[in-house]
């Protein structure tokens, strides 16, 4: 591991932690603007985290170590993904420690711990959220892995850096039907995994309709701050992945400071753009019934499957 490469990874982690709450704030502000509300400032999520950190820590009556460990595992798995994925630069030497498949399992690790934490206090809401979250995760995983399969076939590697490099080297491959189908599949999976509309409504106030929020209902104070930050980090990673797998231009391919600076600026711009697009999309859709979600995910699965067949038959 070379020093600049480690620096690249460190910058990525710092950047994602700093930007993730602001991205969520930006999405909320966009929504508020489009719905004709004034809305809070974009840094409101950071203020919320700061406020939560200074509140009392609370442990639900019947919960054990799983409940206390889950927020940390969720955040740790998110940060591990940030180390592995090329957001600012493809030249992080740490990227060789895990490929896209490893990313899927790290994401699943966070989900599983959150599900267990939902069950731990023994409330009906927690169990309900946990059961729904694992349903969505179990069905999103095949679509996600197949979409990755499609992308790896295109690049001849499942390594993230190689996939990004291959797109940079041959931008025309992006316009192929295989890539577009894979993009569609990944987008659906990302909406599902990060708990956005139409799968889950992050801003609902009714426990019965929530997935993610009802799982974390028992968290309060600093633990809730960690959970919130981890969820925001996860959303940032997903959007960053989409941005760099399907539009990698501007990403640094070296660890030269100037390149890194450009890479940072570009990735922040891409994240902001994607955040605004998703927030706009969310204004126009309603949440799906829970039992329609599997149909959506099956559609994503089929799109990904077609993407693979396309990349084989149309090359």
């Amino acid at each position: 591991m070379t020093v600049p490469a480690a620096v690249g990874a460190l910058i990525q982690v710092t950047l994602v932690i700093a930007v993730a709450p602001i991205l969520t704030g930006l999405m909320r502000a966009t929504r508020a603007k489009l719905e004709g509300r004034a809305g809070p400032s974009v840094v409101q999520p950071w203020r919320d985290i700061r406020k939560l950190l200074h509140k009392e820590r609370i442990k639900p009556e019947y919960s054990g170590w799983v409940f206390l460990l889950a927020p940390r595992v969720l955040l740790a798995s998110g940060l591990m993904v940030v180390v592995l994925v090329p957001l600012i630069t493809t030249a992080t030497a740490l990227g060789g420690s895990g490929d896209l498949f490893a990313v899927v399992y790290l994401v699943l690790l966070g989900t599983v711990f959150l599900v267990l934490a939902g069950l731990d206090p023994g409330t009906a809401f927690g169990g309900m959220g946990a059961s729904r979250a694992i349903t969505v995760a179990a069905l999103a995983e095949p679509a996600f892995l197949l979409a990755i399969f499609a992308l790896s076939v295109r690049a001849g590697s499942s390594s993230l850096a190689t996939i990004v490099d291959s797109v940079l080297a041959e931008p025309r491959s992006l316009a192929s039907p295989g890539s577009l189908l894979a993009l569609a599949a990944v987008s659906v999976v990302v909406l599902a995994e990060s708990g956005r509309l139409p799968v889950d409504n992050p801003s609902t106030h009714l426990e019965l309709t929530m997935i993610h929020e009802s799982m974390v209902l028992e968290y309060a104070g600093p633990d809730l701050a960690v959970v919130e930050l981890a969820s925001q980090v996860r959303l940032t990673i997903f959007l960053g992945l989409i941005a760099n797998l399907f539009a990698p231009w501007g990403i640094a391919v070296t660890t030269h400071p100037a390149d890194l600076a450009i890479g940072t600026g570009v990735v922040v711009a891409k994240l902001a753009l994607l955040g605004v697009v998703i927030a706009t999309f969310e204004v126009f859709v309603a949440k799906m019934r829970l039992f329609r979600v599997p149909e959506l995910l099956t559609a994503a699965f089929i799109l990904a499957f077609l993407a693979i067949t396309m990349s084989f038959f149309l090359t």
């Binding site: 009556e61 019947y62 919960s63 799983v66 309900m128 349903t135 069905l139 399969f149 076939v153």
Partner: protein, 672 residues
């Protein structure tokens, strides 16, 4: 005699002495002697396997005087050694665990005497080097395990039924294996594996296919692949738990061993449809197994179905290896076979662990019903933590061992596409989709097993009163949990030895499929690398660091215990919790076309008004479709056939004389 021969001899001797000790001693002495001697036997077997795997050549033993005509031929090569190692990984902790576990009414002479013999037969089956030796050891394994499955037949009638299913299925599988190997040996100059190997490639293609199909059926039954799995979800739950651990962690692997040995070693590989067949058998088993595991309420039944699923995953890798080798990609086949072998070792560790954990729960609470459990983590902290490790490992999550083999399995399926034929380009995406869906559902199934079994609040009084199990049982579980973590962080230690095992299957091995550079694994073909040590270590480090950072930010460490949120109401009872059934209900609804659950909803109204409900009874039953739609009709036909033969053979001596007379007439007429 070489060190390896001594090792095998010691393993057999320790097992034999264990059996004698079980017969002549009583009370706690019997438990301890059987446990220690079986453990020693397993340790000796494991040590021998490691010797072979690090390159101290195959261990060959020839004992002409034991079996008449043929003699016993043993030859433990690197391929067999991987399976012996997998047996040892489960058998050693399971034996230690058994010391405590058998104190609960299982310290009977018959059971305890069979246990060491079962371990010895498990250790020796992969070393068999001739048809008669293999069949002898195979039957020994089947019979000893049958006695062990039936151990508690006096206590529960389901045990008897399970033993019937198990005995019948393992004998049907024996018939298939016998036919395959006898036909094979009949076409070869001898019955040693050496002779079979030399003639395997030169048989007619119809004979080769006959041997392949029959051995797949025979060995596949032992591996519990769908649709030959019906015995597995019955026998594994009913057996004593340390025996279930051995059956699910070690014995089923030998079915895979048989498929590999006969098809890709002795027959030397075959046409591409062999690989495709194995792959689709694997895909079906994986999906069917995990769907039933997902909806199972019985904890041990859930684990048993998941064994079916994992054997399916291994067969997917084996089938992919076969497809690659038939289409001229031995290097890609090597990646797939490495994935299969690694998963066998990993599965032995985590499934053994999970069954031991389930055994502790059964010993402490007397129930296997997940809907009645809950809150066990607080009552049984060691068992709970060990079960958590096993669950995370089987979900293929870092930093545990399942993650590495599942990653390799996916890689081996993905990498085929760039350099491929039509067969590969159609089968591999299907296989990846199925493996991925299996992975997702496995996460749900084991989140259910651990989450509703060990977390939240107890749902029945006997679970409320549960207490942690004793020291030997804890030792057994903790050592397997450590193995799961160790294999997850440092799989590169195992790669070198798997390379030797793969090289024992020359038709499935080429180049350097998986190599480890430092702590990072690289696969050939479609590139990509993984450093489990870095990912796992990084995760653990971050989990430790986050509270430190929080403390630095001025967050207080102490937590106030508060009541749960109940939408403003207080008084939440354990009956309001999500149960295992309700947890899996959404996924059950998604897959109800496959599972075909039977609902029964009965609402009783009060006498005063039908708008007031007095009681609601909801019952859901899910039966194995293969059992009702395939096996029950077959059993009916067999019974009718039996009744018809009773009419023919009714005990009347006159009728028998008439049969003789008619037969004689026919013979005379035909011979005219």
């Amino acid at each position: 005699m070489s060190a390896g021969t001594w090792g095998l001899a010691f393993a057999a001797a320790a097992g034999g002495i264990g059996t004698i000790a079980a017969l002549v001693t009583v009370g706690p002495t019997r438990r301890w002697l059987v446990g220690i001697l079986s453990g020693l036997s397993a340790a000796a077997g494991g040590a021998t396997a490691i010797l072979v795997l690090v390159g101290h050549g195959p261990v060959t033993v020839h004992l002409p005087q034991i079996l008449p005509l043929a003699g016993v031929e043993l030859n433990l090569d690197a391929l067999g050694a991987v399976f012996v190692l997998a047996v040892a990984i489960v058998a050693l902790p399971a034996s230690i665990y058994g010391i405590g576990y058998t104190a609960h009414g299982l310290n009977r002479r018959s059971v305890q005497a069979m246990y060491p013999l079962f371990i010895v037969s498990l250790l020796l089956v992969p070393a068999a080097a001739s048809v008669s030796t293999l069949l002898l050891l195979w039957e020994a394994m089947a019979l000893t395990s049958l006695v062990l499955v039936a151990a508690e037949h006096r206590e529960r009638s389901e045990v008897r039924e399970a033993a019937w299913w198990y005995g019948s299925m393992s004998h049907l599988s024996m018939i298939a294996i016998l036919m395959a190997l006898v036909v094979f040996a009949g076409h070869a100059p001898g019955e040693t594996f050496e002779a079979l190997r030399m003639s395997g490639r030169h048989l007619s293609s119809s004979t080769r296919s006959f041997v392949f199909v029959l051995s797949l059926v025979g060995f596949g039954t032992k591996a519990g692949v769908v649709p030959l799995h019906v015995w597995l979800p019955r026998a594994h739950p009913e057996a004593p738990s340390h025996v279930s651990a051995l059956m699910s962690g070690a014995m089923v692997n030998l079915g895979i061993y048989g498929v590999l040995r006969v098809t890709w070693d002795l027959l030397g590989g075959g046409p591409i449809w062999w690989g495709i067949t194995v792959l689709f058998v694997g895909v079906t088993s994986a999906l069917f197994g995990i769907l039933h595991a997902l909806v199972a309420r019985d904890l041990k039944r859930l684990l048993a179905y998941s064994t079916s699923e994992n054997m399916g995953l291994i067969l997917v890798a084996v089938g992919a290896a076969g497809i690659y080798s038939s289409s001229g990609n031995p290097m890609l086949a090597g990646v797939a076979i490495t994935a299969a072998l690694l998963h066998i070792v990993n599965h032995a560790a985590f499934k053994g662990l999970l069954f031991l954990g389930a055994g502790s729960v059964v010993a402490a609470t007397g129930t296997r019903d997940l809907d009645r459990m809950g809150g066990l983590l607080a009552r049984m902290p060691v068992t709970g933590a060990a079960f958590a490790v096993g669950s995370l490992a089987i979900m293929a999550l870092p930093p545990f061992n399942g993650f590495v083999s599942e990653w390799l399995l996916l890689k081996s399926l993905v990498q085929g596409l760039p350099a491929s034929s039509v067969a590969i380009s159609v089968t591999m995406p299907i296989a990846v989709g199925a493996v991925a869906l299996t992975g997702g559902l496995a996460a749900a199934a084991f989140a259910k097993a651990f989450g509703t079994g060990f977390l939240a609040r107890p749902r029945s009084p006997q679970v409320e009163a549960a207490a942690e199990v004793g020291g030997t049982m804890q030792t057994g579980m903790v050592s397997l949990a450590v193995a799961c973590l160790g294999l997850g962080l440092a799989p590169f230690a195992l790669l070198d030895v798997l390379r030797r095992a793969g090289a024992a299957l020359p038709s499935l091995w080429g180049g350097e499929p998986v190599r480890s550079v430092g702590v990072t694994l690289h696969t050939g073909g479609l590139t990509g690398s993984l450093s489990p040590l870095f990912i796992g270590g990084g995760l653990i480090l971050l989990v430790v660091l986050i509270p430190v950072v929080l403390r630095l930010l001025g967050v207080a460490g102490r937590r106030r215990v508060a009541e749960n949120w109940g939408s403003g109401r207080s008084l939440q009872t354990a009956r309001m919790e999500y149960t295992a059934t309700s947890f899996a209900e959404p996924l059950q609804r998604v897959f109800d076309d496959v599972l075909r659950p039977e609902f029964d909803l009965a609402v009783t109204h009060t006498a005063e008004s039908r708008y007031y409900v007095e009681a609601v009874r909801y019952r859901v039953g899910i039966v194995d479709g293969f059992e009702t739609h395939v096996y029950r009709p077959l059993i009916r036909v067999a019974k009718r056939w039996g009744e018809m033969s009773r009419w023919v053979q009714n005990g009347s001596i006159h009728r028998y004389l008439a049969y003789l007379f008619v037969a004689l007439l026919i013979v005379l007429l035909v011979s005219q």
